[in-house]
């Protein structure tokens, strides 16, 4: 099997408290909060960082080259390499993977990756609509909600998944979020009835089947083997990073499942030596934009057979108390700062591996999976472990 040139580890983590509005800070100030936390966590000075990888969707805040603004004003990018990676919903995982290659290639020893979104200063849906083809898609199937509703409808029709099973995902994730001090929507007492009686947004999606829009930033510091030893005795090592993309038009294939998640996770499992994900992994932080999608994604990732996502949750396997907790942080249904959302998955997976999850910690985590979802049904998978792979 091919091994990377260098092993790469997460050695510092920072995230802001995610809220719907951060009126108290401007964009660079908000970015700085997460960056400072990550630097303090790794006990590094800004000058010790070799390069900065940034993730943000520039249309959403209306700032072109936002990395050249916030990489200098909100992060220590002055006279350093600053590069932006932007791939929509997967932005956070794409930049996490870009940071990995920056270090694994031997070009840099320590890099800072930072993603953010400050949506009240722009408009996410306005931005997302322009992602779709102006002639074929924009009049009918633009934005995030339309395609996600279509997917949920096709998924439930194919496998007989009920709205009640979907509502259980929201109940699980938002009550998990109550244990996560950074989470946006913390609802310890949320009920299935509450979710199922909320406003219909786009059939079958109700208000509480859908993720919120959050403001906030997340920053991670990566290092190679040698630097990691100097920084911490409790890093989280990358075992696999995989990306799988899809047709320009998502509707070119049936949308009841997520083939890219199946392909990307299979490749990642092979690299990381994982045969049975539910047994060999200890926890997963997945990118579920809607309650229905978590059920469907758990199938695509091989946590259960196709059509059994509802059963998996009914049996309590993915609950905090279950055999294989999914989204102890509360997931995307609780917190969704778009440019950072998938990076938060990686951060939370690293937190679990490091055993620093406090009230949301899953006991004895050796390996964790993080997932990014976005674009035209793209998936990115990262697997982290307590020990380096080799």
């Amino acid at each position: 099997m091919k091994m990377p040139k260098h092993d790469v580890a997460v050695v510092g983590i920072g995230q802001t408290k995610f809220r719907s509005k951060r009126r108290d800070v401007n964009i660079p100030e908000m970015v700085y909060e997460a960056v400072k936390m990550a630097l303090d966590d790794a006990q590094l000075e800004p000058k010790e960082i070799d390069a900065i990888i940034i993730g943000n969707m520039d249309h959403f805040e209306g700032i072109n080259f936002s990395e050249l603004f916030c990489g200098i004003e909100g992060a220590p990018g002055y006279l350093k390499p600053v590069v932006k990676v932007a791939t929509g919903g997967t932005t956070g995982s794409s930049l996490a993977i870009c940071g990995y290659h920056n270090v694994a290639s031997g070009i840099y020893n320590k890099v800072l990756v930072v993603g953010w979104e400050k949506l009240k200063e722009g408009g996410a849906t306005t931005g997302i609509i322009t992602a779709f083809d102006p002639v074929w898609e924009r009049p009918s199937l633009a934005g995030a909600l339309g395609p996600l509703a279509l997917m949920a409808g096709m998924y439930s029709a194919k496998y007989g998944i009920t709205a009640e099973q979907a509502a259980k995902v929201t109940v699980k994730n938002r009550s998990n979020a109550a244990n996560n001090p950074f989470a946006h929507l913390q609802m310890p007492n949320i009920t299935i009835d509450y979710v199922m009686s909320s406003q219909m947004i786009s059939y079958p999606l109700r208000l509480h089947d859908v993720c919120p829009q959050s403001e906030g930033a997340c920053a991670l510091i990566y290092a190679n083997e040698e630097e990691t030893k100097k920084i911490t005795d409790n890093p989280a090592w990358f075992h696999a990073v995989e990306t799988t993309h899809y047709y320009t038009f998502g509707t070119d294939e049936a949308m009841f499942d997520l083939p890219t998640a199946t392909l990307a996770s299979k490749k990642a499992y092979k690299k990381a030596g994982i045969k049975n994900p539910v047994k060999d992994l200890d926890v997963a932080e997945i990118y579920e934009p809607t309650s229905w999608s978590e059920l469907s994604w758990t199938e695509a990732l091989g946590f259960c057979k196709p059509g059994e996502g509802g059963k998996l949750l009914d049996e309590g396997i993915t609950l905090m108390s279950g055999e294989f907790p999914v989204n102890p942080s509360g997931g995307v249904l609780s917190t969704n700062p778009i440019g950072a959302t998938a990076l938060v998955r990686v951060a939370e997976a690293a937190i679990q591996v490091m055993g620093r999850g406090e009230k949301r910690q899953v006991p004895d985590v050796e390996k964790a999976l993080a997932m990014g979802f976005g674009g035209s049904l793209w998936t990115e998978i990262l697997i982290l472990g307590k020990e380096p792979l080799r």
Partner: protein
């Protein structure tokens, strides 16, 4: 450092308004051409790195629209939001990390579909500077004025850059503006932002560029003339123009120093045979000479007068005609890399610099050289 080789590269003709092609069709044109030229199929490509900008494409997640065109269906693609030179180095990193054997790097820009002044105005911070109306033209005027004032560089010296690059473009079949112009034409053209005139600036172009990178053994198997990455430097200058030294390109100077160090170059003018640089206005190229160490600070004007950077000089700069002749903005850096690859392969036809062995490509992000990527390549 392990070796990463450029196997082949393809470009579209750069034009003002390719109204008959969408940007994904532009991308498909260069990808298909690359497949045909190298005799490969989509299965020979490990993954794809693209470079584009959502503002320039008028589309969020602009790379979503080119998944079919780059063949990344059920395959890995990632997008550097910015200049193509930065996408090149990300592609090279994916080979150096030993994750992929081959990487295709693609960049496109269709300037004709968007108002470039608004796009560039959006680079300025939304709180204090954007409503002043700053864009790439007005900020270039500020920089040129300060630079020319400090070092006594003349408008004639600046115009010589435009004359040289547009003349070089006559030899480049892909170039957008191919014309013989005089210093007088430049100086008499309409004033845009004092002291810069219309002809001191590039046109806006539509076009795309693609290249295939491979690790050493595969590159050698696929081509007799692989082009190897020898040096890389990357450095970002301050964001606010008022925080910068506007008379010298500090970020580029540091990026060049890093790249020279990695490539073990101590005397660039002797050791480099050809340069392709992203010059966004006439005096910018003079400042680039200085930052790259081809001449002393403030000597850029005298340097162009000496003719060293002409096609028959000791270090030709922009044999392709540079950005002043073809300007599909986000693709500029990757075009520089592609043109250097052609030079080192000895396949640059009429624009070939004889015996070119070592070449430098410079790509830039943002306003007035804020983000700088310097790449050194070797042909042996």
């Amino acid at each position: 450092m392990d070796k990463v080789g450029i196997v082949g590269c393809t470009q579209t003709k750069y034009e003002a308004d390719k109204i008959d092609q969408t940007y994904s069709e532009l991308v498909f044109e260069v990808v298909k051409k690359l497949h045909n030229e190298l005799g490969i199929t989509n299965d020979d490509i490990g993954c794809v790195i693209t470079s584009s900008n959502d503002f320039n494409d008028g589309r969020t997640i602009a790379n979503m629209a080119i998944q079919d065109a780059v063949g990344s269906v059920r395959k890995a693609e990632s997008r550097v939001s910015g200049d193509g030179a930065f996408a090149y180095i990300y592609g090279a990193m994916r080979i150096l990390s030993e994750s992929f054997d081959t990487v295709m790097v693609v960049s496109h820009c269709k300037c004709s579909e968007v108002n470039q002044y608004l796009v560039n105005n959006s680079i300025f911070d939304p709180y204090y500077q954007r409503h002043l109306g700053l864009d790439q033209i007005s900020s270039a005027g500020l920089m040129a004025n300060m630079y020319m004032n400090k070092y006594g560089v003349t408008e004639e010296q600046a115009a010589m850059i435009v004359v040289k690059n547009r003349r070089n473009a006559l030899n480049n079949p892909y170039a957008h503006l191919q014309e013989r112009i005089t210093i007088k034409d430049v100086i008499n053209s309409k004033i845009m932002a004092y002291p810069l005139k219309e002809l001191d600036f590039p046109p806006f172009s539509d076009g795309a560029v693609a290249m295939l990178l491979a690790k050493e053994d595969i590159a050698k198997r696929m081509t007799d003339t692989p082009v190897w990455l020898k040096g890389y430097g990357n450095c970002t200058d301050a964001y606010y123009l008022g925080h910068r030294n506007m008379t010298d390109l500090v970020g580029l100077e540091l990026a060049a120093k890093q790249a020279y160090k990695m490539a073990s170059i101590t005397d660039p003018i002797k050791e480099i045979d050809v340069c392709e640089v992203s010059e966004n206005f006439s005096t910018h190229e003079l400042m680039i000479y200085e930052a790259l160490g081809l001449c002393a600070p403030g000597e850029g004007g005298k340097f162009i007068e000496g003719g060293e950077t002409e096609m028959n000089g000791s270090i030709p700069v922009n044999p392709s005609g540079g950005v002043l002749s073809s300007n599909p903005i986000m693709a500029n850096g990757l075009i520089r890399v592609a043109e250097i690859a052609l030079q080192l392969k000895g396949k640059a036809d009429k624009r070939q610099v004889p015996n070119a062995k070592t070449g430098l490509a410079y790509g830039m992000n943002g306003i007035c050289s804020q983000g700088n990527c310097v790449l050194i390549f070797g042909g042996e």
